[in-house]
């Protein structure tokens, strides 16, 4: 799933390891989510959004909206 995680992380000058520590997951998890190889569960997606003080849809791009050209 497409997302803005890499941009949001870079804005805060966090490494993947920094973000992983804040989310209490492995660095591999952060990398997999950033690169769209893994879609996080809803609870983890909420944790990520809350960490950046954003709504989920401001971090992750809805696949259905993306395909319909709404975004």
């Amino acid at each position: 799933m497409e997302n803005r995680l890499r941009v949001l992380r870079a804005e805060r000058r966090w490494s993947q390891a920094d973000l992983a520590e804040r989310l209490e997951v492995s660095r591999q998890s952060v990398n997999a989510i950033e690169t769209g190889k893994y879609d996080p569960s809803l609870p983890l997606a909420f944790r990520i959004a809350e960490l950046f003080d954003l709504a989920i849809e401001e971090v992750f791009v809805s696949p259905s909206r993306r395909h319909s050209g709404a975004i």
Partner: protein
Amino acid sequence: MVTTSSAAWKRYNRRLIWLSLIYAAFLVTAVYGFKHQLIPAGLRYLVAILPALPIIGIFGAIGRYLVEEQDEYVRMLMVRQTLWASAFMLSIATVWGFLDNFGLVGHVDGYWIAVLWFFGLALGGLYNKLTIGEAGGGC
């Protein structure tokens, strides 16, 4: 292999080491006992299955790890590996069973099923590596 250092992963590794040591001890005991006819008739079945118990324990340890692992991505990698292991093992066993049934191959001891499963676990790690760049754990 994922370089995870989660508490669940460390516990899993500790369990794996202990179970492997117990397996070696039980196997040596059973083989030595039967070879030198030291096992009383009433204990033969019990001693014969001794080496199987820690192997079953390893299956349990993998299940325990999947329950305890808090990192959902790492857990998913291990789940994929175990599915690969099961599919590989069941496929080979089924094919071999039919070949054996029609007399085309020799009969194989049942414990090779477990060996096939662990080999399948490694194949699952390879599949993870090739498809999403991380091997996963447990092998």
